[in-house]
Symmetry: D2
Subunit: 349 residues, 4 copies
């Protein structure tokens, strides 16, 4: 088939760059339009962008001229890596004008009529798009991907929630500096240091995980009845969030039950055929000291999450460690994955 | 008064070096004897030791000849920084021979007749020494300091346990590489990485915290009735363990109650006059992003612990972050502090 | 004697904070006035400043109200930690108004009538102050301290230049992130990375080292006839610049000659009695792998430089490694040291 | 064609692992035999090896049983990643027994009759194999690849030496921790630190670069008449050595000449068709702050070196920065590249 032309909003930032990198050889999508703030518009992308990724800037985008963030781009699908303070109204104006917006921004994630999607977790929540269009009178649509820490966590929890019913969840994160963008975390704050605080992150985990694991019924998503407590830290790691998790379930559950459920987890047939879906979205590590950022973040090309150290928790049922790539699965890769789902479900003409 | 001559067992390792550094200008103690493994005996300390601390090796120890680990040292008090595999019998032989042994090793910490002490937490547990001497027929004694992660945690929890009765404790640590000694953690395991595992550490925290907060009655220490769950990680920090803590208490307790109890905490009169006791053993930080290793580990010359981000926990009562210096308060400094207590209580003639 | 009241220009930045820290217990000076940019003026220092140093903010300055950068401060001596873009005219206006300005900014360092001083290196260059006052008609004065990399380098080279006559100098630096201020170097640029570039630094080293080692004659400072080539890099270190140096001298010189000259170096009697002068400004290390930032930057309370690995250079005469604390000796500490010299030489009434 | 079966000596170490990884999908070679020290022999590779690379251990080697380091492996070509203390005689015994040995060890690099090869630099030096066989009476052969720092340096210098005649070379390295193997550099030596010393490295650079750039004539390799001075440092980087270089040439040479020569450099037709040869072995960066380890080490799949900041040197002719991947181009990848050359030149039947 012909590739679907796509645009990127906020193309010059770190997440925008990751979109461009991940879309460079995408089998379904082709990047044809880049939009960014006034500072960059009118310049060639190669000049407007301080490229930060280890792989070189894809040839195909170097000569694209950066356009303003206005719904006049030559495509029907846009990815949004806009900063939270402008994403809200900008994304709405695109959806109103008929664009499908796959957003990584937080602005609309908790809107009652906006799907917050991880394809392996809650592909059925896209049904909310009909509600959204009806209520807002849009030809287009907005679908969001979750916060980075929440994404890897919810993916690992999905088979456990399905099988055993999660009740309580306590998570402590050790997050990579790439999550803060660029320039982001000053080196004087992270060399030989830990920052026990990531602004807004704990609230996002506590909220978004319950929506992701919730149920679509009667035109709305009911929040999963889980009590969630999160503590977030920044550590001296470039990419890959490590999370220590303790959970209690409705059904009495052993370590072996949990491992079995994690290992048995496979994407649905619909999701399995999306280009970005890894063969095994959850990888269980048996070593005593895994997962680790340097050794596990690139599993499944950055789209698989790794779970290790599954063991009994004296307070709850089990505890374990989960790790995922925060700027691939947890950001740009997640939104691209969502767009693939929308194409597959024929929300995008 | 004349200073008390002391010896150091395991003087060439990282904790041994920290003992030497902290004792260099100690008002009560004077280092007169250094003992280490065969490899080092018979050599000048300056030659036998690969000194790792930023401050220079104290002049007074450079020319001391390293002696074998045998109870023939010219002193009555020894500090043990011996590795776990040889500490057990070696410390016993010293106690048998009449030495007071203040140990940082784990071998005897959980022995029913061996006090595990943090002066501000459970100075009364030294009463166990009488039991120990009676049962073992020793003239000497063994007193132990706790594992590094446990020490700072138990100190922060003490006023909360006293005031509100701890019931449940969940802790996730982010520990400094100095805790693993030298050569310790390979740099390929920690640059741009987190290791979600510290051998034996979780069990130590779960056990030792309950003994430290336990009650001395009828010639024994009853373990505090707290359910403890620990997850331990190694991060790219030189010194200072950061711990994320969630607690539930018998009495319903608010954030303000907790802060008030932490801020009101003062050492007893007996403990306050020990040279190593900081004016405020617990420092409460009000900033959103503290405590941090680089900015808080040296508080109270490394003997104070810092607590910050006290806030409600959706699952338990409150959650917070605690930080302390793992090789000062959490190792050598803690054992010296214990020796000061023994002198003050006249256990050391 | 009564302490001399001093002010700090640019008090809220990282160098300004270091001034405040180093002046907290200074025997001659007392900080009475703090000035900073408009954003901070009118606020208590404790509120205006995001304090970054590991030791707490000194009590004495917490309640000082930040004033505008105008020559109306209640003191006669000011330290300038102003950014390069505003330091030039601001410092001049203070000198004109009768203040003695000890500046760490680069603006006036190379002015023909402004002394660039390291007390142990060229205390006699203060004679330029008479020229400056005559030419500019000032009651006050400006004296500057050198760039951080240059300071430690020039100090180490001084005895070699005096004894053997330097001709050629090639230096490659590995500089700490604190040199770039705060927020300064983004962590994504330095975790698992080296940046082989520090803006303007190579030119400063090549220029300033020749002025520092130059000769005051006939009312001017003649540049030392040394050919200098510098390459500058930023590495993942908090404090302490490490520099690899190769030198050729007029006289044929051996490694032993160089070591002997470095070890014999002592400050003049006049300089030795200044409070900030270390007993031995140059420390020679004999180990194969020193000096190192973590182990040597605090030598002499951060005011001594360490030299090690002195060995023959196949191309020039000798090569070696020099290390100093870039924000103490190389910045605030250096300017305070200069002010002490001015007091001692009675330039400050 | 059928793939050539190969063995790896020292298969469990970090360089051995890199050989396995790079050979996993090699178009010409297939790993069939793994040999290592007694500790590992007789065990499945998956059990004997503590795998350290971010990509998973290739399936094909997991079940290979580790064999002793003796010339009884079922192949004709072996790669040696043996430690220096045993490589010498072990490699000789394989060559004697008819094996082609492509070694990354230092033992035989400077032997007069052993080629030290970088295909793009001195492919003609393989002619030394005839001399070697004649003198030693071997059916097999030994060919070596250079030390990691030297390899990237010599490759970058090759076109400059060819065009302008190098005379003087001063290099300061900032080397990654992976160069020291595992466990290698202790984290206490590198977090917030620089080690200005890498054992034996400076001598290797000074020697090997002259052999690599030397001329094969009359059955021997004449050392290039270059005076070389090296200073080596270890920094907190995982992979990728950064080197600051100053050079003087016989012919007066400008920055533009140097850039033009570097950019014009292409491998010979013979070398260009080897699978590991990158299209452009030398990449010139024009940005002010490149090359950097994180952004340039993977150029050309780790086989290209990047050169940047080419500028005039006040002392010599030009100075610049060169960066390469020390465990790919500088170790296992270099030896594989050499083996490809041997196959292409029909030294391997």
């Amino acid at each position: 088939m012909d590739k679907i032309p796509v645009g990127i909003l906020g193309a010059t930032g770190t997440v925008g760059q990751r979109f461009i990198q991940l879309l460079a050889d995408h089998p379904w999508f082709e990047t044809v339009a880049l939009a960014a703030s006034d500072r960059s518009t009118g310049r060639r992308y190669a000049e407007a962008c301080h490229w930060l990724l280890p792989t070189p800037m894809p040839e195909a985008v170097c000569d694209l001229v950066v356009q303003p963030i206005e719904p006049t781009l030559e495509c029907r699908l846009v990815f949004s890596a806009l900063p939270a303070d402008i994403a809200g109204p900008a994304e709405e104006s695109f959806a109103q004008a008929g664009y499908a917006v796959c957003s990584n921004a937080s602005s609309h994630r908790m809107d009652a009529d906006v799907p917050l999607i991880i394809p392996e977790v809650n592909a059925d929540h896209t049904a909310l798009i009909d509600v959204q269009r009806r209520q807002r009178g849009w030809d287009g649509l907005i679908v969001t991907s979750a916060n980075c820490s929440t994404t890897e966590l919810a993916l690992a929890l999905k088979p456990l929630h399905t099988s055993f019913g999660l009740r309580k969840l306590l998570v402590v994160t050790m997050q990579a500096v790439s999550g803060a963008g660029y320039p982001g975390v000053p080196s004087l704050d992270i060399v030989d240091n830990v920052i026990p605080y990531v602004g807004g992150e704990e609230e996002k985990i506590e909220r978004e995980s319950r929506k992701l694991l919730g149920t679509f019924e009667h035109d709305q998503v009911g929040m999963a009845p889980i009590v969630v407590s999160a503590q977030c830290n920044r550590v001296s790691v470039r990419d890959g969030h490590t999370e220590c998790v303790s959970i209690e379930m409705e059904q009495s559950t052993t370590v072996d039950d949990v491992i079995a459920a994690l290992e048995a987890f496979r994407p649905s047939a619909e999701v399995a055929q999306l280009p970005s879906t890894p063969a095994r979205p959850i990888i269980v590590r048996r070593e005593t000291d895994r997962p680790q950022p340097i050794r596990d973040r690139d599993a499944g090309k950055g789209m698989a999450v790794s779970v290790g150290r599954v063991r009994p928790c004296p307070l709850f049922d089990v505890k374990f460690v989960v790790l995922g790539h925060n700027t691939v699965r947890g950001a740009a890769g997640g939104s691209i994955h969502n767009a693939e789902l929308l194409v597959s479900q024929q929300w995008i003409a």
